[in-house]
C-alpha cells in the first residue's frame, strides 16, 4: 500500500509544503480569484454610447418595446384596445380586462398597473439613452443629434399618453432612481409645457429626411405632428395649425385617395410607423381586431358605432368588416387586412398619419375662426371617405362635424376617441347613454394602488378610486 510510503515523508518537507500552501492562501493573488469579467452578453453602459452601432441598437431596443408594450402597443394591452373598450368603440368578449369594458376599474387593476409601469420603464430607457448621449464624446454630432431627438420625441409622446389617461403625472427626465422614487405628480399644464419643450428640442435636433429607408424612426415632421396634437389638446390653436401645416406642406407626404392603401407599409400618408419584429410579421392590431367567425374571441366594434357611419361612408365598407353566424352579425376593424404573418410583411402599425394632421388643422382653424380653411381640410377627409362636402357652416357645427369625422377616421387608433370625448367635454354626455357603468370620475384612470403605497408623494389618488 502506497500510504505506507507516505508515512515516511519527512515532516520538514511537509511543514514546508503546508507553509507554502498557507502563504499562497494568504497571498494577494488569491483575492483576485473572486474577480470576474463582465458577462459576455452585456456591455458596460458607457461603452454603448461610444459607438453609433451600439447606440442605435439601444434606440432600436426602445422602439421594439414601444411596439410590444405600453400605450402604443397594438395588442390587447395597449391604449387602442383598452381605451377603445373603455369608451364607445369596442365590445369585449374576454374576462381579463373586463373592468375596462365595464368602466369599473379598481385601483389595483393589473392591466392598468402594467400599462403604467411599462410606460415609465420606456421613459427610463429614453432617459438612459439621453444621458448616455449627453455624456458621450466620441459619437459624430449628426448621429448623436438624431438619436437625442428621437429619444426626446419618445419621452414626450409617452408622457402625452400618461397625462391623458391619469391626469397629473410625474414628468420624469432622469434615470436617478432616488429622485424618481419620491416624485410628486406634476400639474397637467406643466406636463404639457414639458412635453412641448421636449418636442421643440427634438424638432431642432431631428433631420427632415428619415434616417433609414422606411418611416420607422421619427424625423423632424414626426415631432411636428406630435407637437400639433399636443398644441390642439392644450388649446394653442395657432401653434397647432402651424405645426400641422409644416407636416402637410412637406413633399414627403402625399395624400392617398384610396382608403385601402392608407395602412399598407409604404403608404405615402404615414409619418411614423413601427417596423415588425421579423420580416413576414404584420401588425398586432390586425391580429387583435380581425376575426372570421362569431361570436368574437376578443374584441369587436360596437354595433352602435358601426351603425352610426353616414350612408355611403366608404370607411364603413373598407375599414370595417361584418362577420355573421346566421343569427347574429358582428363587425371588426379592418383598417389592417392581415391577421397573421405573410411571406413578406405587408402592413406596419401606423402611429402617426397625415389624416390626423388634416383634422388637427381643420379643428385648430375652426376654433381660430378660419372657417373656410377649416372646411377645406374637413372636406378633404369627407371626400376621400366618399362623402359629399360638409353642410356645416357655423363654427360650432363645423367643430362638431370635425369631431364626428375624427370618430370615424381615427377609430381604434390609440385612444383618439376617448381623448376627444374628454377634451371636448362630451364624455359625460355621450358615454352614459351607451355604458351603464359610466360615472363622471371615470374620466381618469387610477394611479396603480401599489404606486401610492410605495411612494405616498403620488397622493392623492384620482377621485373615484
Amino acid at each position: 500500500m502506497k500510504s505506507i510510503i507516505l508515512l515516511r515523508m519527512p515532516l520538514v518537507r511537509l511543514a514546508l509544503a503546508v507553509l507554502g500552501y498557507a502563504l499562497l492562501m494568504a497571498n494577494q493573488s488569491c483575492d483576485n480569484f473572486v474577480e470576474v469579467d463582465r458577462p459576455n452578453s452585456q456591455l458596460i453602459g458607457k461603452t454603448v454610447f461610444e459607438d453609433m452601432t451600439t447606440a442605435t441598437a439601444a434606440m432600436s431596443g426602445l422602439y421594439a418595446k414601444l411596439r410590444g408594450s405600453g400605450p402604443l402597443a397594438g395588442n390587447g394591452l395597449g391604449v387602442s384596445a383598452l381605451a377603445g373598450m373603455y369608451a364607445d368603440e369596442l365590445d369585449y368578449y374576454q374576462t381579463g380586462n373586463i373592468n375596462f369594458y365595464n368602466n369599473s376599474l379598481i385601483a389595483a387593476e393589473a392591466g392598468n398597473a402594467a400599462l403604467w409601469n411599462n410606460t415609465y420603464h420606456q421613459i427610463y430607457e429614453a432617459n438612459s439613452i439621453i444621458e448616455g448621449l449627453n455624456n458621450s464624446t466620441t459619437l459624430p454630432v449628426a448621429g448623436r443629434d438624431q438619436l437625442l431627438g428621437e429619444s426626446l420625441f419618445v419621452r414626450a409622446t409617452l408622457h402625452f399618453y400618461l397625462v391623458n389617461l391619469y391626469g397629473d403625472v410625474p414628468y420624469i427626465t432622469t434615470t436617478d432612481y432616488i429622485a424618481n422614487s419620491h416624485v410628486s405628480r406634476t400639474p397637467t399644464a406643466t406636463v404639457y409645457t414639458l412635453i412641448q419643450s421636449d418636442l421643440e428640442q427634438a424638432i431642432s435636433l431631428l433631420p427632415e429626411s428619415y434616417v433609414t429607408a422606411e418611416r420607422v424612426r421619427p424625423n423632424k415632421f414626426a415631432a411636428y405632428a406630435m407637437l400639433a396634437r399636443v398644441c390642439l389638446y392644450r388649446g394653442a390653436y395657432a401653434e397647432a395649425s402651424n405645426a400641422a401645416s409644416t407636416v402637410l406642406n412637406s413633399p414627403l407626404y402625399v395624400w392617398e385617395p384610396d382608403l385601402n392603401k392608407v395602412f399598407v407599409k409604404n403608404s405615402t400618408t404615414t409619418i411614423w410607423q413601427f417596423s415588425p419584429a421579423a420580416n413576414g410579421n404584420n401588425t398586432s392590431e390586425g391580429n387583435l381586431f380581425i376575426f372570421t367567425a362569431g361570436p368574437p374571441a376578443n374584441v369587436a366594434l360596437r354595433n352602435d358605432f358601426v351603425g352610426a357611419f353616414e350612408a355611403n361612408d366608404q370607411r364603413k365598407a373598407k375599414w370595417t368588416k361584418a362577420v355573421t353566424n346566421g343569427a347574429n352579425t358582428w363587425y371588426h376593424a379592418y383598417k389592417y387586412k392581415q391577421q397573421a404573418s405573410t411571406p413578406s410583411s405587408m402592413e406596419y402599425s401606423v402611429v402617426l398619419r397625415l389624416a390626423e394632421q388634416v383634422l388637427i388643422r381643420a379643428e385648430a382653424r375652426a376654433r381660430l375662426g378660419e372657417l373656410t380653411n377649416a372646411k377645406a381640410d374637413l372636406d378633404l377627409i369627407r371626400i376621400t371617405a366618399g362623402l359629399l362636402p360638409t353642410t356645416a357652416v357655423s363654427q360650432s357645427d363645423l367643430i362638431a362635424e370635425i369631431l364626428n369625422q375624427r370618430r370615424f377616421e381615427l377609430f381604434t387608433e390609440f385612444g383618439n376617441r376617448f381623448f376627444d370625448l374628454k377634451r371636448s367635454g362630451l364624455a359625460d354626455t355621450v358615454l352614459p347613454t351607451v355604458k351603464t357603468g359610466w360615472s363622471p370620475t371615470d374620466k381618469l384612470w387610477p394611479i396603480p394602488a401599489n404606486e401610492l403605497v410605495i411612494n405616498p408623494n403620488l397622493n392623492p389618488q384620482n377621485p373615484g378610486y
Partner: protein
C-alpha cells in the same frame, strides 16, 4: 473572456499534487528511521517506534444475535490504531498486553476488552437503543458525536426517507425536523418547494434559501428553468429534484451559528447537508425495491351548482338594472343549456396519478474497500386529463477505500440523474374553480373538442400547449484523506457538478378555437438550454492531540469554487405544420431572447478549534473569511465567525450515577453568518440584448438599475439549548432557544414604477429578528421483545420581528413594514361587514380622511407566520410488523380561497356566496351581486379580497406519512423480504374551507394524496 480562472484553480490542484508527489518522491527507506524518530519526539503519548517491538497480532470474531457482524470498528484505546471487521465479522489488529480494545458499531453498545496473554478474542455485541447520543453527526467539514455537539443540527436518515413515497428529498423532511418549515409548491410533478429554516431572515423573498451540500459539494438551488416555460407550476423546476431520495443516507440541517459559521457567507439561512449511501463491509448484497401506487388531489372547494349559480348571475344583472342580458353572457342569455351541470373540479382535476418506483442496488466490500452501486427509475403521471408524466432515472456510485493501516482514505461518489417532465403549461385549477357550472360539454358527440359555436373556450384545448423539460445532472466528489501522523491529517475534497437542462414550451395554433383561423404560422416554440457547471476544491489540514484530560482539535482549510451558468433562450415562430413544432430549425422566424454566460466565483478560508475537557466542557470556535464575485470591487470580502460551548453536566461526578438522569448537556453558541444570494453582476451598469429586433437590429436594453455600493449581509445568531436524557435515555428531550438577527440586509428595495424598475439591490439599515423555541422529544415507550414503540415529537415556535428600520417612514417600505411587527405581515383593509343600506362590503377608514384607499387605509396588520408547527412521529414494531406514522401540525392564519371576480359575474363562486345582500336592511355575509357593471361593487369586492375578511384560520393536522411494513419470515437468513404500504398526505384535519391548508399558491394544484404498495427484496 475569463482572466485565468483555471490558472487559479490550477494552483490549488498543483499544490495538492505537490503534497503527494513530494511524499512519494522522498518516501524512501533512508528517511524511515528519521521520520519515526521525529514522530516519536513529536507524538508524545503514542509510539510508532515501539509498535513493531512489543505488539502482537490479535484476531477474533465479532458477532451479534444473528451471527458475524461486519463493519464493526475495532480500535486500541488511546492509540491511532483501528480496523474494521470483515464480511464474516473477523478482525485482526496489532496490540500489546494491557491495551484496551474498543468495539463499536452504531446501534450497538460498545464493548471494551483488555488484552491479556491471549491472542484470540470473540466478542458478542448487543443491540442498544440507548446509544442515541453516540450517533455521529455530520457537521460538514468535520463530524462530531451527538453528545459532544456544541451546535444545533437536526438529522434524518434513510430509515425515515425510505418510508415515504416522494420524489423530492425536501418532501421527506416535512414535519420531521424542529424549526424547519417546508411547503410544497404544488401537486404537479417536478414542482418546487419552499424551505425556511428558523424563519424568514431576509426581506428579499428569494434570499431565504439554505445552502445545500451533497457529499461536500455545494449544490445550487437557484431554479434552472424559466418561469414562463414552466407556467403550469407555481414555481420553476426545483434542481433538487435531481437528488434521488433513495440514494440518500442522511440529511443534516445545520441551524445555529456554531454549526453554520464555518459556511460563512452562505450559512445565514441554514445549511442542508445530504450524505449519499455508502457501501458496507460484508458480502455482496443485492436489494430490489419496487413500489407503485396512485395519487389524487387532496381537497376541493365547495362551489355553486348550476341552479344556485344562475340565480346569482340573474340577480347580478337585476341589481345592475340590466334587463337585456349581453350577447357575451352565454351562461344566462340562453346560449348555453341552463339545466346542465358539471363539477369542473372533478372533471378537470379529479383524475388519478400513477406512481411507479424501482430501485436496485448492489453493495458490499472488504474491510479495506467498500462499494455501492444503485439504479432507480421513477414515473409519475398527472391528475389532469392527458398524457402528462414525470420520469426519473438515477444512477449512484460510491466507493470507499482505506489503506491497510487506515491512514490513507479515499472516498469517491457520483450520481447521475436523468429527468424528463412533460406537463401542461396551464394549471387548470383556477379554470376549474371559475368555470360556470353550466358550461358546455368538453367533447362533441363525434369526440372532437366542443367549442359550442365559438361561445366556449374549451379548457382541454389549453392542454395542447405543454412543456417538456429534460434534465441531466451529474454530481461527483472525491475525498482524499491522509493521516500524516496520529495528530496531523490532510484532506482534500474535490467536487464537480454538471447540470444540463433543456426545456421546450410548445404553443401550437391548435390551442385556439379553429374558427379563429389561426394557422401553424402562428405556432410558437420557446426553447431554453441551461448548462450549469461548478467545480470546488477544499484542501484542509487537521491537527488533534490530547493533553491529560483535554483534547484539542484544529482544522484549517480553504475553498475555491467556480460556477458557470450558460443559457440560450430562443423563440421560434411559425411552422409549416404543427407536427414540426418541437424542431426549432423548422420555425419560420427565430429569435434569440437571451444568450449569456454568468460566472460566480467564491473563495474562502475557514478554521475550527475545538477543545474538549474530559467530555465535560467543550468549546468550539469556527471562523471564515469569504470572498464572492457577486459584489463589486472593494466589497468582495468579509469575515464570519462563531463560538460555541457545551457543558455535559451528567459527566460531573455528582451526577454521574444518577438513576433517572442519564444525560444532560447545556450548550450555547453565538456568531455571525452571511448571505450572498443576490444574483450575479448586480453591481454592474450594463446594457444587454433585449432579444427584440427592430429593423433587423437586435435591440439593447439597460439590464437593471445598478448599485455599485452593496455589500455583504450579516446575521448574528444566538442559541441556548438544554439536552437531557432520562431513564437510560428512554426519554430524550432537547429544548433550544434561538435568536437570529440579520442586519445590513441585502434587499431588492421596491421602487415605484416611475423609476422604470420595480426594485434595486441595496443594503438596508434594517434589523430583522427571528426568535423561537424548538423542542424535540424522543421516547422509547415500549421495549419488549415482540413489541417496540418509540415516539418522536418536534415542535417549534417562530416569532419574526422587525427590530429597527431607520428612515422607514420615508422609504418605499413605509406602507409595507412596521417596526416591532414581523416582516411576514400583510397589510390589509379592515373589514367592517356589509352595509345594510348600500349592500356593499365596508371597510374601516383607518386614517379618517373620509376616503377608503390603499395608501391611507390598508393598514390592518395580519401575520401569516405559523404560530407553531411540528410533527408527531411514531414507530411501532410488533414481531414482523412495522408501523410508522407521522402527523404534521401547523397553527397558522392563512388566506381563504378568494374567487377571481366579484359575486354575480361570469365566475363560479364558493357556496358561501349564497348569503348575499338583497335589500335595504339585510344583514348579509356577502355584498350584493353584480354582473360587473356596478363599479362600486367591483371596487368593494377587490378591497374585500385585500382585507382581513379573507384571513382565516388555516391550522391543520395532517397524517403526512404512514408506512406499514411486513417482514416476510424466510428460511434463508441471508434473504430478506419486506412488503410495505405507504401513504403521503393521507388525512387532513382542518376547519379551512379554501382547499388545501398547507398550500398557499392559489390557482395551482395542491399536493396530492399518494398511496403506494411495495416489495423490498434483498439477498
Amino acid at each position: 473572456m475569463n482572466k485565468k480562472p483555471i490558472g487559479n484553480m490550477g494552483i490549488y490542484l498543483f499544490l495538492l499534487c505537490l503534497c503527494f508527489q513530494v511524499t512519494f518522491a522522498f518516501g524512501d527507506k533512508k528517511q524511515e528511521t528519521r521520520s519515526k524518530r521525529l514522530f516519536a519526539v513529536n507524538g508524545g503519548d503514542s509510539s510508532f517506534v515501539g509498535m513493531t517491538i512489543k505488539q502482537s497480532i490479535i484476531t477474533g470474531t465479532v458477532s451479534d444475535a444473528h451471527g458475524g457482524l461486519p463493519g464493526v470498528t475495532v480500535s486500541v484505546k488511546n492509540k491511532p490504531v483501528s480496523t474494521i471487521t470483515n464480511e464474516n465479522g473477523q478482525f485482526s489488529i496489532a496490540a500489546e498486553v494491557g491495551d484496551v480494545l474498543v468495539f463499536s458499531y452504531i446501534g450497538y453498545a460498545a464493548v471494551t476488552v483488555t488484552v491479556d496473554s491471549r491472542r484470540v478474542y470473540d466478542v458478542i455485541m448487543q443491540e442498544d437503543a440507548t446509544t442515541l447520543k453516540e450517533v455521529t453527526v455530520n457537521a460538514g467539514y468535520y463530524t462530531v458525536k451527538d453528545k459532544e455537539l456544541t451546535g444545533s443540527i437536526s438529522k434524518i436518515t434513510s430509515k425515515e426517507l425510505e418510508k415515504q413515497p416522494v420524489t423530492n428529498v425536501l418532501a421527506a423532511m416535512q414535519g420531521r425536523m424542529a424549526g424547519v418549515d417546508i411547503i410544497q409548491d404544488g401537486g404537479t410533478a417536478g414542482g418546487g418547494f419552499q424551505i425556511k429554516i428558523r424563519g424568514v431572515n431576509s426581506l428579499r423573498a428569494d434570499g431565504n434559501s439554505p445552502l445545500y451540500i451533497i457529499d461536500g459539494v455545494p449544490y445550487s438551488s437557484e431554479s434552472i428553468g424559466y418561469a414562463s416555460i414552466n407556467s403550469g407550476m407555481a414555481s420553476p423546476t426545483s434542481p433538487l429534484n435531481s437528488i434521488n431520495p433513495s440514494d440518500i443516507e442522511s440529511i443534516e440541517v445545520l441551524k445555529d451559528a456554531d454549526a453554520t459559521a464555518i459556511y460563512g457567507s452562505r450559512g445565514a439561512n441554514g445549511v442542508v447537508l445530504l450524505t449519499t449511501k455508502k457501501g458496507k463491509v460484508g458480502r455482496t448484497k443485492i436489494t430490489v425495491n419496487a413500489t407503485s401506487g396512485t395519487g389524487k388531489a387532496t381537497r376541493f372547494i365547495d362551489l355553486m351548482h348550476t341552479e344556485q349559480y344562475l340565480a346569482m348571475r340573474k340577480d347580478g344583472f337585476a341589481k345592475d338594472n340590466i334587463t337585456t342580458y349581453p350577447a357575451s353572457a352565454y351562461d344566462v342569455n340562453g346560449t348555453w343549456d341552463q339545466n346542465r351541470y358539471t363539477d369542473w373540479q372533478k372533471e378537470l382535476l379529479g383524475g388519478t396519478a400513477e406512481f411507479k418506483n424501482l430501485n436496485v442496488s448492489v453493495s458490499g466490500g472488504s474491510a479495506q474497500t467498500q462499494y455501492l452501486l444503485s439504479g432507480t427509475t421513477n414515473t409519475e403521471t398527472a391528475v389532469i386529463p392527458g398524457d402528462f408524466r414525470y420520469r426519473k432515472a438515477a444512477g449512484h456510485f460510491s466507493m470507499n477505500h482505506a489503506g491497510e493501516d487506515n491512514r490513507f482514505k479515499l472516498a469517491l461518489s457520483g450520481g447521475y440523474t436523468k429527468q424528463f417532465n412533460k406537463q401542461s403549461t396551464t394549471d387548470l385549477t383556477r379554470l376549474a374553480r371559475n368555470l360556470a357550472p353550466n358550461a358546455p360539454a368538453l367533447y362533441t358527440a363525434d369526440g372532437e373538442l366542443n367549442w359550442e359555436n365559438n361561445t366556449f373556450s374549451n379548457p382541454l384545448a389549453l392542454l395542447r400547449g405543454y412543456s417538456t423539460v429534460k434534465t441531466n445532472d451529474l454530481i461527483a466528489n472525491v475525498t482524499l484523506n491522509y493521516a500524516l501522523t496520529p495528530k496531523w491529517e490532510i484532506k482534500a475534497n474535490m467536487g464537480y457538478t454538471n447540470l444540463d437542462n433543456h426545456e421546450q414550451r410548445l404553443q401550437p395554433s391548435s390551442i385556439n378555437n379553429p374558427s379563429l383561423n389561426i394557422s401553424s404560422s402562428s405556432s410558437l416554440l420557446y426553447e431554453n438550454v441551461t448548462t450549469r457547471e461548478s467545480t470546488i476544491i477544499e484542501p484542509q489540514i487537521r491537527w488533534a492531540d490530547s493533553f491529560g484530560k483535554g483534547k484539542l482539535d484544529i482544522l484549517v482549510g480553504g475553498t475555491a469554487q467556480k460556477q458557470t451558468t450558460g443559457r440560450l433562450y430562443t423563440l421560434g415562430q411559425g411552422f409549416a405544420s404543427n407536427s414540426l413544432i418541437t424542431n426549432m430549425a423548422s420555425a419560420n422566424n427565430k429569435f434569440v431572447l437571451a444568450s449569456d454566460v454568468t460566472e460566480y466565483k467564491y473563495q474562502a478560508f475557514f478554521g475550527r478549534v475545538n477543545y474538549n475537557y474530559n467530555d465535560k466542557y467543550i468549546v468550539n470556535l469556527t471562523g471564515r473569511r469569504d470572498g464572492s464575485s457577486r459584489f463589486g470591487p472593494g466589497k468582495q470580502f468579509a469575515y464570519f465567525g462563531a463560538a460555541g460551548a457545551a457543558w455535559v453536566f451528567t459527566n460531573e461526578t455528582s451526577l454521574k450515577n444518577s438513576s433517572w438522569l442519564s444525560f444532560g448537556k447545556l450548550r450555547a453558541s453565538y456568531g455571525t453568518t452571511g448571505n450572498d444570494q443576490i444574483g450575479d453582476y448586480q453591481y454592474l451598469n450594463t446594457y444587454a440584448s433585449s432579444g427584440q429586433a427592430y429593423q433587423g437590429i437586435t435591440g439593447l436594453e439597460p439590464t437593471r438599475l445598478f448599485n455599485p455600493e452593496f455589500g455583504w449581509e450579516k446575521s448574528t445568531k444566538l442559541e441556548v439549548a438544554l439536552e437531557t436524557g432520562f431513564l437510560s435515555d428512554r426519554i430524550v428531550l432537547t429544548t433550544a432557544f434561538y435568536r437570529n438577527r440579520s442586519s445590513n440586509q441585502l434587499v431588492g428595495v421596491p421602487l415605484s414604477g416611475t423609476t422604470g424598475f420595480s426594485s434595486i439591490n441595496a443594503n438596508l439599515d434594517a434589523t430583522v429578528q427571528n426568535q423561537g423555541l424548538e423542542i424535540t422529544v424522543h421516547t422509547d415507550n415500549l421495549r419488549g421483545k415482540n413489541l417496540r414503540w418509540s415516539t418522536n415529537v418536534t415542535i417549534a415556535t417562530a416569532r419574526n420581528k422587525l427590530i429597527s428600520f431607520p428612515g422607514l417612514e420615508t422609504s418605499t417600505y413605509a406602507n409595507t413594514y412596521v417596526v416591532g411587527e414581523p416582516i411576514t405581515i400583510v397589510k390589509l383593509y379592515q373589514y367592517k361587514g356589509v352595509n345594510a343600506q348600500t349592500g356593499l362590503f365596508e371597510f374601516a377608514d383607518l386614517n379618517g380622511d373620509g376616503i377608503i384607499n390603499a395608501a391611507g387605509d390598508k393598514h390592518y396588520v395580519a401575520d401569516l407566520t405559523p404560530k407553531y408547527f411540528g410533527g408527531f412521529q411514531n414507530q411501532l414494531k410488533y414481531k414482523n410488523w412495522d408501523l410508522d406514522f407521522l402527523f404534521q401540525f401547523v397553527k397558522q392564519q392563512t388566506y381563504n380561497y378568494t374567487p377571481g371576480s366579484a359575486n354575480g359575474t361570469f365566475f363560479n363562486q364558493s357556496t358561501d356566496y349564497a348569503n348575499v345582500w338583497q335589500q335595504s336592511g339585510d344583514m348579509a355575509a356577502y355584498q350584493m351581486n353584480t354582473s360587473g357593471a356596478n363599479s362600486a361593487a367591483v371596487t368593494a369586492f377587490s378591497r374585500y379580497t385585500a382585507s382581513d375578511a379573507i384571513i382565516v384560520d388555516g391550522s391543520y393536522i395532517r397524517l403526512k406519512n404512514i408506512a406499514l411494513t411486513y417482514t416476510v419470515p424466510l428460511k434463508y437468513k441471508t434473504m430478506n423480504c419486506k412488503l410495505t404500504v405507504q401513504g403521503q398526505n393521507v388525512l387532513t384535519f382542518t376547519n379551512y374551507k379554501g382547499g388545501d391548508p398547507e398550500f398557499r399558491a392559489t390557482g395551482f394544484l395542491p399536493p396530492l394524496r399518494v398511496i403506494t404498495g411495495g416489495v423490498q427484496l434483498s439477498f
